[in-house]
Amino acid sequence: MSVRVQEADFDLNAELAALRAGDARIGAVVSFVGLVRDINDGAGVSEMTLEHYPGMTEKALEAIEAEARARWDIYGTLVIHRIGPLKPCDQIVLVAVTSAHRGEAFAACEFIMDYLKTRAPFWKRETTPEGARWVDARETDDSAAERWGLGYESSR
């Protein structure tokens, strides 16, 4: 289980190869890669900057991974989240999970991603033709996390 927060890009093939290297128990590797799009809420996006809360970010991601490992029979997990300035088409986030069979790996990967979206302290600021703006949280992200029933506590 591993969590990395970094400015640098990542090499998907290299990361997946390292995650499963030498482990013949693994029958399934599921990965998700999030990318920067060039449009959001009807405006063109030329650049995005990711801010985070150092310390809490790593702690939150580790807690999310631990929860996934408690729920599903999985072997390895990897979460990489980039920070700093990013451009459209850039990779933002990688979540990868290994297990004996696909079902566990698919579910755990989706769970980690859904919880990351609502619990890991990252914030996107995007540059549009009208200027820079902070991205608003989506209600669909909250409902995606809620369906896993972890009792998401907010300060609303």
Partner: protein, 82 residues
């Protein structure tokens, strides 16, 4: 008691500061009370910010969460990573 308060993202920009160490009067011992007290100290945006989230010592916490001497309390907008 004294606590470290941190602000992030749009809230940090609106307040014009990333954090502060504050000496709290007696009775300010929850996140909700701290938020109200900070509003009284001129941090108006803490009163009007929508869906504000909070963490105590880097764990998500609600308004009823206890605040103790030396704690790190962070206020921030809903997260938008991933």
């Amino acid at each position: 008691m004294s606590v470290k308060v941190l602000y992030f993202a749009g809230l940090r920009e609106a307040l014009g500061r990333s954090g502060e160490t504050v000496e709290l009067p007696a009775g300010i011992d929850t996140v909700g009370a701290l938020r109200d007290w900070l509003v009284g100290q001129g941090r108006d945006k803490l009163a009007t910010a929508k869906n504000l989230r909070c963490a105590v010592n880097q764990d998500m916490a609600g308004p009823e969460a206890a605040v103790r001497d030396g704690d790190e309390i962070a206020f921030f907008p809903p997260v938008t990573g991933g």
